[in-house]
Every structure is written in C-alpha cells, then in structure tokens.
Symmetry: C2
Subunit: 154 residues, 2 copies
DNA sequence: CGAAGGTTGATGACATGTCAACCAGACACC
DNA sequence: GGTGTCTGGTTGACATGTCATCAACCTTCG
C-alpha cells in the first residue's frame, strides 16, 4: 500500500453523507414496511421480484443471482417465508437437483397490498427530494459503479 | 394511501442502481477490510470514530448517537471488541451510570494499519469513478435526505 | 457402464443485530 | 429525606445473515 491519497473535504463529506443516508433510509423504509404491511425489506424484495416474473415462479439460483444473495441465504429466507405461507417450493421438472419458488395467493396479496405504500415511502424519503438532474446523476454513477464491481477482472 | 404515483423509468432505474451499488459496494469493502486488516466494517467505524476524538475516549451514548446505533447494539459490539483487546471500558467520573470507551494501543495500531487500505478501496470502488460534479451532487442530496429523515417532525 | 468433477439446494454452527426487560444512578418534587 | 420518574447501559431471547459442509444430481469422458 503506497502513499495513501486521503479524501478531500468534499469527498469526505459526500462519503459520510452517503453512509448516513443509507442507514437512515434503510431504517425508515424498513420501519414503514413492517408497520404497514408486516414485511421486512428482504421479504418485500423476494415477493416483488417474484411477482414481476411472467409465471411468478423462479429457479432458486436465478432468484439468488438477481438479488445478489448467496444460495444459502435465499434458502434460509425462503424457508421462513414458506412457513408464513408467502411462497411455496416445487421440484424442478427439468433438473432433478433444482427447485422452483412460486408465489402463493397470500404472497401475491401481500405484495399488492404493500407496494403502493412502499413506493410512496421511497418517493417521499428519497426520490421527491432530488432534482431531476440529481436523479439522472444517481442513475448514471450507480450503474457505473455496479459495472466496475461486477467486471470479470475485479 | 391514495392513488400511488409509480416511479417513472429513470427513477426506477436510479433506485435499482442505488440498491445494487449499495449491496455490491458493501460486500467489496467488507471483503477487503476483513482480508487486509481482520476488521469488520462496524469494527472499523467504531475505531475510526474513536481515533478521531481528541482524547480517544467517548461516552457510550455519544458514540451510539454518532454511529446511529442502538445502545444495545453498541454494548454488544463493544463487548466483543473488548474481548479482542481493541477497546476498553471505563467508568464515567461525572455520571455514575455512564461508561466511557477508550481506544487501546492495539486498537490504535489496528486502525492505523487499516485506514490507508480502506480509504484506497473507497476511492477505487466509488470516489474515483465519479466526476467532480457527481461528487458534489452526492454530497448535496445525501445531506438533504439526511436532514429530511432527522427532521424532528418526522 | 461408471468414476470424476462441477452444480444445486439444504442444513447446522456460528456471528451479528434487534427487541424488550431490567437495574442502578440521576433528577424532580413534595 | 422519601418517592416516582427518567436516563444510561447491560443482558437474554430471538431473528437474520454467513460460512462450511453435505447429499443429490447432472455432465463428461475413459
């Protein structure tokens, strides 16, 4: 590790702001989601991803990849959601090892009930506080960073 | 919950990008920190906050507030860090209920060893990928959101 | 065929975070 | 000085996430 280039004042401030925002936004969104719909953020994400899928069914590994979760985490989480009746597991016809998650009626009901409030919360606490230019900047640089972090070489 | 205003394409994309970046960046920074310094991000944050304090000592509640942690979480975490010799607890002279955390020599050594690499990782995976304008925008809107979320009325 | 090697999920042990109950000292008020 | 309440911190039970490991299964190749 050679000479470190420390962050200048603005960079430091931006980095701290980012982390603080992240924490507070997380807390707030999770709080509203639990209060209004009885779901955690991970629950919401699973249901949301699943409900946007044509057949409302996904291979576990496919879902894990989309969510950037480990297979193990997904498996544990689905077990819990399954016990609450939000999703179901089925065997995969094409691959004997595989499994498929599906949305139960209760799961669909839950996400349909939760979505409007959650989107409103995201708006109120983030999106609507940003100017169109800032939204565009956020869109641009987050994708740039994601590309960097998922580049094969790194 | 009245008529929901869904997110338009750009907003949706920005929101997803944000969440994806957040997750990947977290993973990467945590990975490097563990590998290079044997610290978790929470460990690093505690040590860093502590080392920037004049006397390298802080009241628990003060530290908890700065980090946006619950007292309980901080207490648990400090117990673990204390067992590893990174910090120490002392009684508070001014308030018999209170306690003070201090940095041990080992703790100071650990943060001094970890900081250059961590800052470099933050640069490499985020800061240096943004234009100066984007840094400025990030700085501006994150603080705006933080203000919104910490406003007394909400 | 059948063994080797990679993939898919499930599982148990463990680390970490949250919530609620609790205790002791501070504080207010009579 | 009591007495009730508040505050700072600790603790234990529990929820969640990670890692290592395992069994079942596909695929390839001798």
């Amino acid at each position: 590790m050679e000479q470190p280039r420390w962050l200048d004042a603005r960079e430091q401030s931006a980095w701290r702001g980012y982390r603080r925002m992240r924490r507070l936004l997380d807390l707030e969104l999770a709080r509203e989601l639990t209060r209004d719909a009885g779901l955690s953020e991970p629950d919401y994400d699973v249901l949301s991803d699943l409900s946007e899928t044509p057949d409302q069914r996904l291979r576990l590994s496919e879902l894990a990849d989309r969510m950037l979760w480990s297979r193990s985490r997904l498996s544990h989480h689905l077990t819990r959601m399954q016990q609450r009746g939000l999703v179901a597991r089925e065997e995969c016809a094409a691959d004997g090892r595989g499994a498929v998650v599906t949305l139960t009626d209760e799961g669909r009901h839950a996400i349909e009930r939760a979505a409007p409030g959650h989107v409103a919360a995201v708006r109120r606490n983030l999106i609507d506080l940003l100017t169109p230019d800032e939204i565009a900047a956020l869109d641009a640089f987050t994708h740039r960073v994601v590309d960097h972090l998922t580049r094969p070489g790194e």
